[in-house]
C-alpha cells in the first residue's frame, strides 16, 4: 500500500469519487483499488505470508477438534478443566478489550472530545476482543451449540458465570451498536448512523455498568476455587476488584499498543487528524493507565495484608508473584512515569507493552500457572497452543480487514465535503 500511495493512488475514504459518482460496494471492499492492484499489495506484504502459514496449519486443527472432540487437541485434564482457550482467550482477551468502555466514557460521558480521534479504535478494539473471546469460548465448550442455553433455556442465576454470559452477550450487542456508526457511514446508511448516535449516552452508560460487573465477575469466578488458586493470587473479598481495576490499564495500554502498530504499518490509512493527535493522546492514555496501575498495585498489597499472606512471599511462589508485580506493575509504572514526565511517546509505548504483558501474566497465573498449585503443573497440548495462536491470527486478520476499510482511523468524507 505504501508503494501505491507513492504512485499517487489514494485509498477509498469518501462517499463520492472525485468525479462525483458513488463508490460501489465492490470498490469499497477493494479499498478503491482495482482487483489487480489489490491482490498484488496483499501478496507483497510478508506479514500476510505468516498469517497464511498459521492458517494452513491451524484451521485444519480447528476442524479436527470439532470432528473428534476436545480430547484430541487437549490433555483432557480433569484437574485443569480450563486450559489455554479460556486462560488466554477469555481471561486475557476480555481485560485487554476494556478499552471500548474506557474511551467511550472519557469522550461521551466526560465530554473529553480531545480523545475523539482514537475513540473509534478503542471501541473496535473492545468489540473484536470480546467477539474473539466468545470464539475461544466456542472452541472450548464441550457442546458449543448450546451456547445460548443460559440465556433462553435453563437458568442458573446464582452462578457467576451466568452473569458473565449475560453481560458479555449484552455488551457485545452494545459494542456492535457503537461500532455500527462507522459501518453505516461506510456503507452509506445515514439514517442508521443518526439513529445510533442519538442513543450514544445510553449505550455508553450501559457499557460502563456491564463492564464493571463482568470484568469483576471474571475474577469472582476464581473465588469458587479457594485452595486451588494459590493464596497470593486469591482473595475472596478483593478478587473482583483486582480484575476490574487491572482491566483499566489493560484496556488503555492495549489501545496504545494497537495504535503504535497501526501508525507504523498502516499509516496510509490514518488521516492527518489521527496522525497529528496520536502523540498527545498516547501520553494522556499513559497517564490514565498509570493511575489505574497505581491503584491496582495498592489494592494488590492491601489484599496480601488483609489475608496476612506475607509468609508466602518467601516461597518459590512468592518469588514468582513478586516477579509478576515488579515486572508487570512496578516496572511498567516506572517506564510510564518517566515517559509521561519527559513527554516521551516511545517510553509510554514501551510502558504500555509491559503493562499488557503484565496483565497477561497475571491472568495466566491465576487461571493456569498458580491454579492447582499444590497438585502438578499442566503444560498445554501442542495442538491447544496452535489453535490458540490460529484464533489470534484470525483476530488480527479481521482487525486489519476492518481498519483498512471502515472509517476508524480516518474521518469519512460525506457528500457535502467531497
Amino acid at each position: 500500500m505504501k508503494k501505491l500511495a507513492a504512485n499517487g493512488i489514494k485509498p477509498h475514504d469518501a462517499e463520492m469519487k472525485a468525479d462525483g459518482r458513488k463508490f460501489s460496494l465492490m470498490e469499497k471492499l477493494l479499498l478503491g483499488l482495482t482487483l489487480d492492484q489489490y491482490v498484488q499489495q496483499v501478496i507483497r506484504n510478508k506479514f500476510n505470508w505468516l498469517l497464511a502459514l498459521i492458517f494452513v496449519v491451524g484451521i485444519p486443527l480447528i476442524i479436527y477438534r470439532f470432528i473428534f472432540g476436545l480430547g484430541v487437541v487437549t490433555h483432557s485434564s480433569y484437574d485443569y478443566p480450563w486450559g489455554l482457550f479460556l486462560g488466554f482467550g477469555l481471561f486475557c482477551m476480555v481485560p485487554l478489550s476494556a478499552s471500548g468502555f474506557m474511551l467511550g466514557t472519557t469522550v461521551e460521558i466526560f465530554g473529553r472530545h480531545d480523545f475523539e480521534p482514537i475513540e473509534r479504535l478503542a471501541l473496535l478494539n473492545g468489540l473484536l476482543g470480546y467477539f474473539f473471546a466468545v470464539v475461544y469460548l466456542l472452541v472450548d465448550l464441550g457442546q458449543p451449540w448450546r451456547l445460548a442455553y443460559p440465556m433462553v433455556y435453563s437458568f442458573g442465576p446464582a452462578a457467576v458465570l451466568f452473569l458473565v454470559g449475560w453481560h458479555v452477550a449484552t455488551y457485545l450487542s452494545v459494542q456492535v451498536a457503537e461500532v455500527s456508526t462507522a459501518f453505516f457511514e461506510w456503507i452509506g446508511f445515514r439514517r442508521g448512523y443518526e439513529f445510533i448516535r442519538k442513543g450514544t449516552i445510553g449505550l455508553t452508560v450501559s457499557g460502563i455498568i456491564l463492564s464493571t460487573l463482568h470484568q469483576g465477575a471474571l475474577g469472582a469466578l476464581f473465588v469458587y476455587a479457594p485452595g486451588k488458586v494459590h493464596p497470593l493470587w486469591y482473595s475472596a473479598s478483593f478478587q473482583w476488584i483486582h480484575f476490574f481495576v487491572s482491566s483499566i490499564p489493560a484496556g488503555l495500554c492495549m489501545v496504545i499498543c494497537v495504535s503504535t502498530v497501526v501508525i507504523y504499518t498502516m499509516k496510509w490509512r490514518c488521516d492527518q487528524r489521527f496522525i497529528d493527535s496520536l502523540d498527545r493522546i498516547t501520553i494522556s492514555l499513559a497517564k490514565g493507565a498509570s493511575m489505574g496501575l497505581f491503584t491496582y498495585l495498592f489494592i494488590k498489597l492491601l489484599a496480601v495484608a488483609h489475608d496476612n499472606e506475607w509468609a508466602y512471599l518467601a516461597t518459590g511462589w512468592g518469588a514468582w508473584w513478586l516477579f509478576e508485580m515488579f515486572f508487570g506493575v512496578i516496572l511498567a509504572l516506572i517506564v510510564l512515569g518517566v515517559g509521561i514526565h519527559h513527554k516521551s511517546v516511545a517510553l509510554c509505548r514501551l510502558g504500555a507493552l509491559i503493562t499488557v504483558l503484565g496483565i497477561l501474566l497475571n491472568r495466566l497465573n491465576t487461571a493456569l500457572i498458580a491454579f492447582n498449585w499444590n497438585l502438578y503443573p499442566e503444560i498445554p497440548h501442542i495442538f491447544e497452543v496452535i489453535i490458540s495462536i490460529t484464533i489470534f491470527a484470525i483476530y488480527v486478520t479481521t482487525y486489519r480487514f476492518i481498519l483498512n476499510r471502515l472509517p476508524i482511523l480516518y474521518q469519512f468524507k460525506s457528500r457535502a465535503e467531497a
Binding site: P81, G142, Y153, I201, F222, Y224, Y376, F412
Partner: protein, 310 residues
Amino acid sequence: MSKITRRKFLAGSMAGGAAIAMAPTKKAFGANLEGFPDGMGVLVDMTRCVGCRSCEAACNKEQNLPEPDKSFDDYSVFDERPHGHYRRPTEKAYTVVNRYDPVDEQPVYRKIQCNHCNEPACLTSCFVNAYTKTPEGAVIYNDKVCVGCRNCMIACPFGIPAYSYSSAINPIIKKCIFCYDTRLKNGQTPACVEACPQQVMVFGKRKELIKIAHDRIRRSPVKYVDQVYGEKEVGGTGWLYLSGVPFQEAGFNISLPSEPIINNVKDFLAIVPMVLAIWPALFTGFHLLATKGKSHGHGDDHSHDGQEEH
C-alpha cells in the same frame, strides 16, 4: 444536626430502595440453598476398609461404565500415581479406592466419590443449573442442558466431576449420582454400599449418621480420630468419614473452610444490584456536569454533519 442526619438517612434509604427494586430483575443472585433435613447420606468407616475394590466393581456395573483398564482384583492400581498424585474419579470410574501409607501405621484405604454436599459448589457454579440437590440427598446432573463450560470442575472442592472429553458430539460431566435413578429414588441402598464385604459403609439419614459416628468415636476414642470429616466441611456433606489416622495422612484436604463455597462469592454478588442501581444515575450526572455549558452536544464531529439541512 438532626437535619443532616435525616437527609443522609433518606439518601441512604433511597439508594437502598433502588437497589432492592433492581434486584429482582436480575433474578435473585446469591440464592441460598437450605440443606434438606431428611437427606440421606453414607458413613464411611475407614478403619474397616481392606481395599478389596468391590465397591468400585459394583459401581462400574450399576452405572454401566466401560471396562476398566485394569480388572477390579488387580491391586497394583494402589501404586499408580497419575501426574504424581493419587487416583481420582474419572469419566470411567465414579468411585476409586486409594491406599495411603501413614508413617508407623497400617496402610489406610479410602474410598472417594462425590460427597453429595449440602450446598454443592458444583451446583451453585453452574450457569444452566444442570445440578439438582434432591430431597433424598443426592446431587444429580442433567446432561440435557449442560453446555460443557466445566466450571463445576473448577468449583468442586473435592475434585470429583470428570468430563468425557473424548466424545465430540455429546461430551458430558461424569460423576457419582448416589445411584439416584436406580436405587436412592426408591429408598434403596447404593450399589457400592451394598457390595462392601466389610460393612465399611452405613447408609441412612445424614442426621442419624452423625450421631452414629460420634457414638463410635465416644466408645473407642483410641481407635478413632475425634473428627467426622464432612460434618462441617464446606457446609457439610452427605457422605461422612471416620478415620483411625489424622485425616491429612489419608489424603483428605483439611484446609477446607466450614462455610459453603458459595459464601465466598456473596461479596461479589452483593455489589451487582448496587452497580445496577447507582451507576446509571452517577454517570449520567457526570455527563451533565462535564458537558454543561458546552454547545457541541454529543460532539458529533466524526461526521461533520452540521451542514445537513435538518
